[in-house]
Amino acid sequence: MTTELAPRTEALITGASPRRFDQRTRNRAQGLLWWVGGIVLAAMFIFPLLSAITGSLKSPAELRERPATLWPKAVSFEAWERLFDPAEGVMTGVGNSLFVTGLTVALTVVLATLAGYGLARYRFRGSGVVFTVILAGMMIPFTVLLTPISVVLRELGLFNSLIGIALVYTTYQLPFCVFIMRNSFAAIPMEIEEAALLDGCTRANVLIRVFLPLVLPGIATSAIFAFLNAWNEFLAALVLLTDQNRFTLPIVLQSNQIGRMGTVDWGLLDAGVVVSMVPCLIIFFLLQRYYVAGIFAGAAK
């Protein structure tokens, strides 16, 4: 009824043709539908993430309640207290994960920047071979190489070692990051370097003072990918670490998953999941631009 009436009044006031108005209502209706659809979809994407947080805030008694409650009836920090309790081993896992991830990020950034600089700014015999060898790792994921990698690490005395696993992560992060860094360095015009050299800068000074600020976006992209991949990695950590004190967070969660008395300790698992998700989400929200740039750079290769 109202929709029948409205166009005429509107047409009287504005003098617009009824047809144009129909078009506008249709656009507005479409826009509204789009927003409603988007909000419903967004809720579906967020609901699982949110449920880990709400689950971690339920008391053990509430977690045992049947039927299960959707939202916590009363907020309880019991699971979080246990998470921070050294006896549960979760904090050891967080510490190990931080160490491995930090070392991987640092090594990846330094090695990829150096290699990218060497490959982009110098011509030397065999540079093509070096680039191909480093990039080949992009085609062959370490998932299928873990059996021989474990043998190599045993030979080097780096099996069951956090440093060893950080070296493995760095190796398989290098193809992508060297590719990114080489492109970043190659994009800098030769004139900039020549001008700085004429001004009496040494090459090392040019690299540190002139180039590094220019390739900072590439470094940010490399660091984000190295962080996410090292923090999230599961299979290599599962097979290359055997000592419980050296387990990274995902492995601790896996081994603690079945709590005492054979039932899953949902509160602790949910809190652990939150701890392992939140750093990734924060980094993504803050540095989204560099992250998405990296995805497209990787896609363009």
């Binding site: 085609m139 299928v144 599961f234 896996q254």
Partner: protein
């Protein structure tokens, strides 16, 4: 005299510069050699041996490969299951990703927000996502059970994580939730690369939406689509965490993937030689996928 000394000065300087360039790449090259090139060769060598964790390695020729294809039924079953998983999930991800890309393409203040939300599960790890899913769909304690109960469909007796097909569906839903945003972003990039004039011309010629999409837009996006298929095929062929943590191979090794079975051989039974042989087979499958990609990419070049 002065000319020749100048010339030799330049060569020694350029040689020194070449050395600087090479030295910069040395650390990366050293690590790549130790933990990538050497393991590659070692893997092939190991696959020809009976190689227990401790004790002597004995050369047994191709016996490991013969065993994989003749007496190890679980391996063939795991390859078959991995292929089924790959063939099911690839189109699911593609069409849902395309739908989301078309959805967030609208010029609106909300697009950037929705894009970020749809993408965000991609950045959390597969292990964390799998643990999250265990909780999310748990028939007794999980939020899905709470919602289902509120709607009058109690599901506390279901066993959808321990049966083959329901377990597979659960994993597919989880993986779709987690990675569809990645497909969306790449497809959005591809869609934006299609010139507006082409679509308008088709519009003027009277082509309907469906026709415009499948006859004009998607063919123009072929490079993006080929790339996405390779990402999703090679990613799915290497699936491990989601099955190791969610279905745990239940009911009876039916949901064991190829990588899962390699893990079992090398790191549960410590038959490293056999695990290496299975890895070589898996590597060959992956290289075939990569070769097909190169062929398809070349096909794109020929069309132009």
């Amino acid at each position: 005299m002065s000319i020749s000394s100048k010339a030799s000065g330049t060569t020694s300087r350029s040689r020194r510069l070449a050395w600087t360039g090479f030295l910069c790449t040395t650390p990366a090259l050293l690590l790549t050699t130790t933990l990538f090139v050497v393991p590659m060769g070692l893997m092939v060598w190991m696959s020809l041996h009976d190689w227990p964790l401790l004790g002597e390695h004995t050369f047994i020729g191709l016996d490991n490969y013969v065993r994989a294809f003749t007496s190890d039924g679980t391996f063939l079953m795991s390859v078959r299951f991995t292929l089924i998983y790959t063939f099911v999930i690839t189109p699911v991800l593609f069409f849902l990703g395309l739908g989301l890309a078309l959805f967030v393409r609208r010029r609106s203040r909300g697009s950037a927000f929705f894009r970020t939300v749809f993408f965000s599960p991609y950045v959390i790890g597969f292990a964390a996502a799998s643990f999250l899913w265990l909780w999310f769909v748990d028939p007794q304690a999980g939020p899905v059970a709470a919602v289902a109960h509120a709607m009058g469909w109690p599901i506390d007796q279901v066993s959808w994580l321990t049966e083959t097909v329901p377990g597979l569906i659960n994993v597919i839903v989880m993986v779709t939730w987690k990675v569809v945003g990645f497909q969306m972003i790449l497809l959005l990039g591809g869609l934006n690369g299609v010139p507006d004039e082409v679509i308008e011309a088709a519009h003027v010629d009277g082509a309907k939406w469906f026709r415009r999409m499948f006859s004009i837009v998607l063919p123009l996006m072929r490079p993006t689509i080929v790339l996405l298929l390779v990402f999703s095929v090679s990613g799915s062929l290497l699936a491990f965490e989601q099955f190791f943590l969610i279905t745990k191979g239940r009911p009876d090794n039916e949901t064991v993937t190829a990588v899962y079975w390699i893990y079992n051989a090398s790191f549960k039974k410590f038959e490293l030689g056999y695990g290496a042989a299975l890895s070589v087979i898996m590597l060959i499958i992956l290289l075939i996928v990569a070769a097909v990609q190169v062929r398809m990419m070349k096909g794109v070049g020929r069309d132009d």
